[in-house]
Amino acid sequence: MVQRIRIRYAKRGRLRFTSHRDFARALERAVRRAGVPIAYSAGFSPHPKISYVGAAPTGVASEAEYAEIGLSRSGSPEDVRAALDTVLPDGLDVVEAVVAGPGGLAERIEVSRWRVELPGVDPDRLQAAVAKFTAAECVPVERLTKQGRRSLDARAAVVRCEVVRHDAAHPGGPVPAGGTAGPREMSGSLSRISPPSGLGGASCAILDLVVRHVTPSVRPDEVLAGLRVVADLEPPVPVRATRLAQGTLTEHGDIVDPLAADREGDLGGRPST
């Protein structure tokens, strides 16, 4: 392996129903079809050098998933990105690629920002539920795992939980109150997210969440379960969640793009050591 490339990819539209395993298989095939010079592990049954950081749950869309690919021949990250994006289906999109600099990717990812659309839920009703949720110190919820029911706290990991009001000035992408200017690329991606679909003109509340990555994990499903616990909030139809960003959290509450450090260190696309 002579070079590591880090990619940000998106899971959009109906392909949000791909599981992480599904995506991993699709990416391995895409690598072969695109002729990307992937490095293989040594040993009895070699496998391509691809590693992932977290993964949005099946059914949840994402604008910010990350993976690292080991190459046997160095190349331009943009060429790799374009080659992979061309052969992957629409909806699994490789959005960015950088040459990996020093330091691990995983340690630059500690929070996720989620946007959750709740079609058929009145924003005022959601606002009231959120107020109860944020006022609580601990909101125990149950999750069904393979080992059975497991209780966890949905509250402590939640850094922000706010109801987004539709803003006529920003029809494409509602801006949360108190605005979090994420990395430029990511606020750009906000505008590509389609408005809530399915319920026509009916009301649709939108939740803006920033949640720490903890174990057991707290993701939109757990927060929604928490809203059910504290305020009996029961969305009439399935919600649509999208991960908008991942990264570390600044003391002002901004999310730092995990590829920023690599981008700064990447001087002219030279292979890293």
């Binding site: 109906r14 392909l15 129903f17 791909t18 599981s19 395993r21 599904d22 995506f23 298989r25 699709a26 391995e28 095939r29 895409a30 690598v31 072969r32 079809r33 002729g35 293989y40 009895f44 049954s45 070699p46 391509p48 099946t58 059914g59 052969v87 289906p89 629409d90 909806g91 699994l92 679909s197 399915g198 139809v237 399935p238």
Partner: protein, 642 residues
């Protein structure tokens, strides 16, 4: 997508069901065409779960052949799991295609490929969810023509009530001819309506339309005769045979799913048909004659298939792949070409001889020698003569020892239980054979680290085979022998420890037997089982033997027949069999002679290497054996980029 898509209604249901990606479509190489510009629209179904149905070669081939035509549109649908079925019923979402999520009922033709009879209840679910009347005679001009294909369609009588038509044999040319007939009929203003179209199809003598045939029964329950009920309809319907496989190099654009499926590989059918003559094997009987794909065509398909799919595994498929006349060159050529490419090649290795091990060695040059599979099928030499599986015990031991000596650690042996004339002793011989295999293997390798797995299932007599007259063994006998075999294997603890034992219960086999050799009266059983919740009968967790037994008692016994009558009864030479009017090319006289030879333990050679033995297929179908060697070389292929 067009106005027809039901995806908006389906989408809110998907978060509530398991593995939603299987219903989303978007496979690599899937085709979505404009609805309005297609003159003829096909919906193709493999009536099992997506994970099983998507890799099916038959459906993929027909899908591509049809979509290559500019004025034809073909989409796919699969059986939905009960969780989604419940949601669809609750929310009024119809059976849909995965390509453009169009409702199945909107298509002109609904083609269903049956590899196994245990999918029949899934057909009813799909029809019902599609809002197509279950009974063919209740359908009107607005409904698709429902056509069955696949191996089970060689006796479609149990589903005759539910299908409008059935096609026997290879589908590539048949679907195109049916397409032409439907196009012309539509262009002519649909003369005669639905029945007019079915008549046009029936007159080709290659499409079976059950409603145009009346079945009369004798007082004792046997069939008296099956005759056309209108003059233009032929007495017999013939199977289709696609000749010269090199002209049909499909799939060229293999479907690559996002969801995980049972076969994650690019498969090339290296030949079609088999004349080994195993008497239990319906596939070998109904797909004659042997037609090889040439070595060069195989090489081109493999290269193109890997490029188009990104798969890293290639399967060289057929009924007996080691029998291809140039298989050694195919294997070594592909192994040369893909050396160091992380592409793995596989051959379904069931032929019991050392040559097969050589081939497997070639394909595993890079070192992955996990397991090899052989199929002696019968435990004793006597029973192997009955079933015409010409393998001596010495052959088998020698082959397996060769495998162990070449670094293979695990050998799987396939057997059947409940074969005609079988005794307990024939089955117990399997244990002795397995013990010998382990002993010889330990001796040859000096290692205890070798294993053998005995895998055994119940034999089911199938139509169009020499065993079509045979009595099926009852589940109690099968289960008792399987239990005895297990005890016998473990009677030697040292050897038994190295032997794995896998078996299938006898009960599902009995139901498959009913559906395989049933007639039109069995349709009522299928319907009753389905109404009582029968779904996915090929899956042990969904199959209910009791439900089938109860439904069979209720539906059949008032007519003087029964589950046992269909399965456990040996037929005599002159009984009219439910599929006699369906021509697989095999001469019924020859099948009877071969059945008698089986009972006399007389073997029958392969017509590829010995003179023709008059099974009847080639003259009846105007076909001939197409085998090499061509003398051509696999290389040069375009070099793979490194």
């Amino acid at each position: 997508m067009g106005a027809l898509s039901v995806f908006d209604q389906l989408e809110p249901l998907l978060p509530k069901v398991a593995k939603p990606i299987q219903y989303v479509g978007g496979e690599l190489n899937a085709v979505v065409k404009d609805w309005d510009s297609a003159a003829v629209r096909w919906c193709l179904m493999y009536p099992d779960a997506y994970e099983v149905g998507l890799p099916n070669q038959g459906v993929q081939i027909l899908y591509e052949v049809l979509n290559e035509r500019d004025d034809v549109l073909a989409e796919r649908t699969y059986a939905v799991w009960p969780d989604l079925e419940a949601q669809m019923r609750q929310h009024g979402v119809p059976q849909f295609t995965v390509d453009a999520h169009r409702p199945v009922a909107a298509f002109d033709l609904f083609g269903v490929s049956f590899a196994t009879e245990l999918c029949y209840t899934n057909l009813l679910t799909a029809l019902d969810l599609a809002m197509i009347p279950l009974h063919a005679t209740d359908r009107d001009d607005s409904h698709p023509v429902v056509i069955a294909g696949g191996h089970a369609a060689f006796n479609p009588e149990p589903i005759a009530d539910f299908v409008d038509a059935a096609v026997l044999g290879d589908g590539e040319e048949a679907v195109l001819e049916i397409t032409d007939i439907v196009r012309d009929w539509k262009a002519a203003g649909r003369p005669g309506g639905r029945e007019g179209l079915l008549l046009r199809l029936a007159r080709t003598e290659a499409v079976y339309v059950p409603r145009f045939y009346d079945v009369d029964y004798l007082p004792d329950g046997r069939i008296q005769r099956v005759v056309p009920n209108r003059p233009e309809v032929p007495f017999r319907v013939h199977k289709r045979t696609t000749m010269d496989l090199d002209q049909w190099p499909y799939p060229k654009q293999p479907l690559v799913p996002l969801a995980e499926t049972v076969h994650e590989r690019y498969a090339v059918e290296i030949f079609r048909g088999c004349t080994r003559g195993c008497r239990f094997c319906q596939a070998g009987m109904i797909t004659r004659p042997v037609r090889e794909r040439s070595i060069t065509a195989i090489g081109e398909m493999v290269q193109n298939g890997i490029e188009q799919s990104g798969f890293n595994e290639v399967g060289l498929l057929s009924l007996s792949s080691a029998d291809h006349s140039e298989i050694a060159d195919v294997c070594s050529g592909l192994a040369d070409h893909y050396q160091g490419e992380n592409v793995s090649l596989s051959l379904p290795s069931t032929r019991v001889d050392a040559f097969n091990v050589t081939l497997a060695n070639e394909l595993s040059r890079n070192g992955r020698r996990s397991g090899l599979t052989f199929a002696p099928e019968g435990g004793s030499e006597r029973i192997r003569r009955v079933i015409n599986k010409m393998v001596s015990e010495d052959d088998l031991i020698r082959t397996v020892v060769t495998a162990y000596s070449n670094g293979w650690r695990q050998v799987k042996l396939y057997f059947m239980c409940g074969l005609p004339t079988e005794t307990d002793e024939d089955v117990l011989q399997i244990a002795r054979l397995a013990h010998e295999v382990i002993k010889a293997g330990r001796e040859a390798t000096g290692s205890k680290d070798i294993r053998c797995t005995v895998s055994i299932g119940g034999f089911i007599p199938k139509p169009h085979t020499p065993f079509q007259w045979a009595a099926q063994a009852d589940p109690q006998t099968v289960d008792r022998r399987l239990k005895l075999l297990k005890q016998e294997i473990n009677s030697n603890r040292s050897l038994g420890r190295a032997i794995g034992y896998r078996y299938h219960d006898g009960e599902p086999s009995l139901i498959e037997g009913l559906l395989s050799r049933g007639d039109r009266r069995v349709g009522a059983v299928i319907r009753r089982v389905w109404e009582q919740g029968g779904r996915f009968d090929g899956w042990s967790e969904h199959f209910s033997y009791q439900r089938w037994v109860a439904a069979a008692a209720e539906a059949l016994e008032p007519m003087g027949v029964s589950l046992e009558w269909y399965t456990l009864r040996e037929r005599d030479q002159h009984e009219v069999l439910p599929w006699d009017h369906l021509d697989s090319g095999l001469d019924k006289e020859w099948l009877w002679v071969d059945w008698q030879a089986a009972l006399a333990q007389v073997e029958q050679d392969d017509c590829r290497w010995t003179p023709c033995f008059d099974c009847g297929v080639c003259p009846a179908m105007d076909t001939q054996i197409q085998v090499g060697p061509t003398g051509r070389k696999l290389l040069p292929l375009t070099p793979v980029s490194r």
